[in-house]
Subunit: 410 residues, 2 copies
């Protein structure tokens, strides 16, 4: 008898954003004329920049000729893109990577979900809380997260990040085998200083803990003191895998391209204590279950490293960061308690006293026709907060703010 993987049955039926979509649709059904503005899901809105568009047309024309046609590419990605990454995202920060440490993917979501395949099913897991749901769900699907009791997984250590600790997670009080860190943080929009990040690398080296470091939002960092990569910290090559994405850097949410760094120094142990390098294991995983990212998407990604591409991508990031500033400044003026938004495209707001995340979500939807994301959807410590994204257009973001101001003034 074919038996189902019963770990799936422990998961909540829906992904967070599916729940939000349902509630928005329920509102629409009774308010057919309503013009809803979504500052909820973290999707970008601005078009691809001209350098990327040109690269896509050029790659398309290549594919129309026998000599320029590209079939299967290397599963780990084309060297033209891996070299551009190496030279632009790492060398200028004094980080020396081998080209074989870079794996091109179809976006960070796939790899942050798949990376856990490299480790034993019963390793213990630590997460900052609130957190991007993929980290936990992907561990739950293989049984590593344990049982779900009252919205918490039994084999997971939650490290609360809240206003009280200024969103700086404490080191775990029991050791964990792997820890997920995401900075700039989704959903809180907060960052870790080099000093704070160093504590994590040292913890990992001391405890033989693997760090899965999600740097998908690093392009939004404004403060020159904030690290863009965990490899800016000495020793991180021995304990950390890092995920990058072009989704937010260059509006690639529909194009699908990102990359993962698996340093060659990085190992995990067998039960007998033998050290096994993870880089060749990840290559084996990718060669078996992945067939490379679209050639067109890889050429598109390469274009963001040209001088024009860099400038254009920077302009769009600045555009979104203007939204972030406007959100922060308006919410502060209205006496909301807000965090993030300075080095990240997310603004994290404490809900007014007595309102839960979902209550505030509904109040805002019905009162101002603005959609935010309930913080509790990202984990128990997200209760009492909501997330706003800066990825809208200026016009819609201003309109949303005007409505919120009017609604709140009532």
């Amino acid at each position: 008898m074919a038996l189902v993987n019963e770990h799936f049955l422990k998961l909540s039926g829906n992904y967070l954003f599916t729940d939000i979509a349902k509630k928005v649709n329920a509102f629409k059904a009774t308010h057919r004329q309503a013009d809803i503005i979504s500052l909820g899901i973290g999707d970008v809105t601005q078009p691809l920049c001209p350098a990327v568009i040109e690269a896509l047309h050029r790659a398309t024309d290549e594919m129309a000729t026998a000599s320029g046609f590209h079939g299967y590419g290397p599963e780990q990605g084309y060297d033209f893109l891996r070299e551009a990454i190496l030279k632009n995202d790492f060398l200028p920060r004094g980080i020396h990577l081998d080209i074989d440490e870079i794996f091109i993917n179809d976006g960070a979501k796939s790899d942050t979900g798949n990376i856990q395949e490299l480790i034993r099913w019963d390793n213990s897991v630590g997460v900052t809380d609130p957190i991007y749901p993929v980290y936990l769900d992907s561990n739950a699907m293989i049984g590593r997260a344990g049982q779900k009791v009252d919205d918490r997984w039994s084999n997971v250590t939650y490290l609360p990040c809240n206003a009280e600790n200024k969103f700086v997670p404490s080191l775990p009080d029991r050791r964990v085998d792997v820890i997920y860190l995401c900075y700039p943080n989704n959903p809180t929009g907060t960052v870790l200083s080099k000093e704070e990040l160093r504590k994590w690398v040292n913890y990992a080296l001391r405890n033989d803990t693997l760090i899965f470091y999600d740097a998908a939002y690093q392009a939004y960092i404004q403060d020159p003191e904030i690290p863009h990569s965990i490899y800016e910290i000495r020793g991180a090559r021995k304990c950390a895998i890092e995920f990058h994405s072009f989704s937010k850097t260059a509006g690639f949410t529909g194009v699908r391209c990102g990359y993962t760094i698996v340093p060659k120094d990085l190992t995990a142990a067998t039960l007998q204590g033998e050290r096994i390098a993870l880089n060749p294991l990840w290559l084996r995983r990718q060669s078996t279950k992945f067939n490379g990212t679209s050639y067109l998407s890889q050429r598109a990604a390469e274009a963001i490293y040209t001088p024009e591409g860099k400038e254009q991508v920077r302009a769009t990031i600045n555009y979104y960061m203007q939204n972030a500033s406007r959100l922060v400044e308006t919410f502060r003026r209205l006496n909301f308690e807000v965090y993030g938004g300075e080095n990240a495209p997310y603004v994290w707001m404490r809900t007014p006293k007595g309102s839960s995340s979902w209550q505030f979500f509904e109040e805002l939807l019905y009162g101002a026709q603005v959609v935010c994301t309930p913080g509790v959807g990202f984990g128990p410590s997200g209760e009492g907060y909501v997330r706003f994204t800066a990825f809208g257009s200026h016009e819609r973001t201003e309109e949303a703010l005007a409505r919120i101001e009017k609604w709140f003034g009532k």
Copy 2:
């Protein structure tokens, strides 16, 4: 201590095609002038057809505007493509699918590798032998394949397909929980008649076995009696998941798009015997670990269902099938024993008496500078065979045949 997933260590270090590349490179090192023709790896060579090129340019232009920009799409794919698939690949064969049974992916390799996540880690596995290595490797990585002893996995039932049984696998003599079938077959190029396929569906229904049916090569079927989809067989909706790919249908090996059918009637059991529908589980898997296929790739795939697209795609398939015919007819003339090549782009050749797969591979490489794929790379029953692909250009295929003829005549 972070512990490694030790199942990875049971795998052979390299993927088959990496081994081949190494041997070819060793030859090149000592024969720098050699002009090698590869009829080895199954990658296409002809450019994308004009309808697809136009669609890619159009989609690129859309992405350059705020109103036409597409960010995150649905993880299960855009309805425009799912509807085109439904109307063109299934309705004309009398197969009625619900749109939610179609999941767009980035190629069949990902999904044939990932699908096993839905079932318990200790389900038993059956495969026809020889077979596409991904099916077994993906099961080995989670421990389901058991231990590897003499090139065979302990928890896998191998169903030999060879000249003696005319490449028609017998039903397993012990029951298996899941079975992988691929028709038209990679690597042998042989097909199953409707009658033979019906035996499998009946076996699966009787034994509560899940069939993972890989139809990646269905577009190459010439004989109208051969089924293109397992759902042409009554009852298959209750026991089979089917994989399709645009890689070979439309030359998308570098574009990355395919689809998977998970019927809503399909269930697997819990240990307590409760039946669990697999369609929502696969949606949950994809929503968590996948973020949809590139919008551009999906628009490209849609274009192959237009009247011009259909005609152009058909012309390229015919082009490759002419190569297949030439391979078959030349090899027969040289008194080789060959199979396949009539409803598939692969020709499966028995090596001359006394030559192993790898020996013949090397003889051909050194004697004629032609690369084939050693059959044993696809499993123990592939020993004594090699695979040739029809995906070259006419010119190179003819040149390869001329060289083989000359070499063999010596």
